[in-house]
Amino acid sequence: MGDTILELKNISKSFDGKKILDDLCLNIEKNEFVTLLGPSGCGKSTLLRIIGGFVKPDHGQVYFEGGDITSLPPERRQVHTVFQKYSLFPHMNVADNVAFGLKLKKKSRDYIAEKVRYAMRLVNMEGYEERMTTSLSGGQQQRIAIARAIVNEPKMLLLDEPLGALDLKLRHEMQRELMRIKQEVGITFVYVTHDQEEALTMSDRIVVMNQGIIQQMGTSKSIYDEPQNAFVADFIGDSNIINGIMIRDRLVMIHGVEVECVDEGFDPNEAVDVVIRPEDLVIGKKDSGFTNGIVTNLIYKGAYYDISVAAGDYEWSVQSNVPAAVNSEVGLFIDPENIQIMKKPRSSDEEVIDKLG
């Protein structure tokens, strides 16, 4: 635990009587790329603003490298923020924007010039120094915003949906850029997004949030493969979430059919949520799978087909490399390893989450 750079302890925050963050605890390690992921209103941006010093929590403490910074104003923190709307200074040219923080620290001209040159090279914007920020494209402005923060050598960079305003292609390009920059400067990144694909691509660790509490924390793979509740399963990627009954260990009943799985540790006949990823379902001949269904819809998505299969009153979502004829009756297969069993939500918070899902 010696490598912890930031510690959030029992953070609570309400706005106008509405609870945004509820007794939240989170540790962030040095040089980690942590992503706070969740739908809008889940509290992720508020949490970032608490780390940045723009919002003071109602309860709880923020420790930075062991010191309590809960009441420290933003200008005295060693973290810098990259805002969603870039927020460049419109009355200054690019170089003056980037040099802003260093000039405030009264560094020498040569030092500033050197650092600005380095930062501009880092974000691939050499030659734009004299340009006005308003004449740049969104992607270029965001690069300058990143340079403006990084040039001050913060120990931690906070990124508040920095790619949210960019188009898809540019967003992918900037994701790779960000990972490269992160590697080159070797500082901690705390990244906020509602885009699960972005989170899965870049993060060392993802913190899935909803209703002001952390739903699950872990690597991209563990979050995707083993969601801990229906909210996470539904939010990360597409999922079939079905009511099931755990007959006994390694055997679950779905829609009246007993299916083998690999999960253990539930009460006999306990009601559970069963999560099956669409890409894990395989379409085969009628009567040979665990259930039969009628193909109701077929959409070509480029890399795969998106197929809907109606079985009883449930419509399965299947992703497959091979098409299936609409209106044909097919069987569905699933590998026991790919079935994820989750306990039904108990707390009211989780219930709200379930309804949202």
Partner: protein
């Protein structure tokens, strides 16, 4: 396309009539009077009369009053704007209405009220005496003229500055703080430079009328302190020398236009630098 344009240009008809009738034609008449003597012969002496010691003294006094009022308005406007801009929308709207409220009242009426407040036996002098300061009478001083002028034109400074400040993105201010700027630095490096266009229109709207507010000088200055506007008024009304009055008006207009090009020039230069 052309037809649409024609129909649109019809809409500007009332404005064209207004501009011709109340600005362009009177201006031509004034200039014609200014460059001719009583017999109608061409002369520049009416315009150059601004350099007569009496007139020049009034011009300089007007300039002092105008600069003083403009500076005081700026110094009062910024703290007020910063305070109001932080309020929630409904409250800031209420504050602005309070500020604008006196503008709905008749100008002369307000001046007469100020005349009573600022008179030798008025409230202000009573307070000054009660504070133990003797031998000072605020009535009929340049200060009382300035109070009247500032009271009248202060909203014209606040509103454009407020518009400029409120337009600054809150994120930009947060970004500055995030990069290490304390509140004072945020003001001087971010808020003030970004509010300059508003400040410029504020200055134009306060400075120019302050220079010529002869009614204020008449009522609050006791008729002894003369702005250049008072002299022009006297030439027209008392001396009935329309040529000289028009000449001084034109000289004043030229002077104001020159000082305004300075502010506009400054604006342009900044924009060029910015690019």
């Amino acid at each position: 396309m052309d037809k649409v344009m024609n129909r649109r240009s019809v809409l500007s008809g009332p404005y064209v009539v207004w501009a011709l009738g109340f600005t362009v034609i009177p201006l031509i008449v004034i200039i014609k009077y200014a460059i001719s003597d009583r017999t109608g012969a061409f002369t520049l002496s009416n315009i150059l009369a601004i350099f007569d010691p009496v007139n020049l003294k009034a011009l300089i006094f007007s300039l002092e009053i105008a600069i003083g009022c403009t500076v005081v308005c700026i110094l009062l406007a910024y703290p007020l704007v910063l305070a109001i801009s932080r309020l929630k929308f409904a409250r800031s709207g209420f504050m602005l209405v309070i500020l604008i409220l006196p503008m709905w009242m008749n100008f002369i009426l307000k001046l007469l009220a100020w005349q009573m407040i600022l008179s030798s036996n008025g409230i202000l002098n009573m307070i000054i005496r009660a504070a133990g300061i003797t031998g000072f009478d605020i009535s009929n001083t340049p200060i009382s003229i300035m109070i009247g002028v500032i009271y009248e034109y202060f909203p014209y400074m606040v509103l454009p500055v407020f518009d400029a400040v409120i337009a600054i993105d809150a994120d930009v201010i947060e970004a500055a703080r995030d990069l290490g700027a304390k509140k004072g630095t945020v003001f001087w490096k971010i808020i003030f430079p970004l509010s300059l266009p508003g400040l410029m229109s504020g200055i134009t709207m306060v400075f120019v009328p302050s220079m010529t507010s002869f009614v204020t000088a008449d009522i609050l200055g006791g008729g002894k302190l003369q702005l250049v506007g008072n002299i022009i008024e006297q030439e027209f009304i008392q001396s009935m020398n329309w040529n000289l009055g028009a000449g001084l008006s034109v000289a004043l207009m030229i002077f104001i236009l020159i000082s305004m090009t300075f502010t506009v020039k400054k604006d342009e230069r900044e924009e060029e630098e910015a690019w």
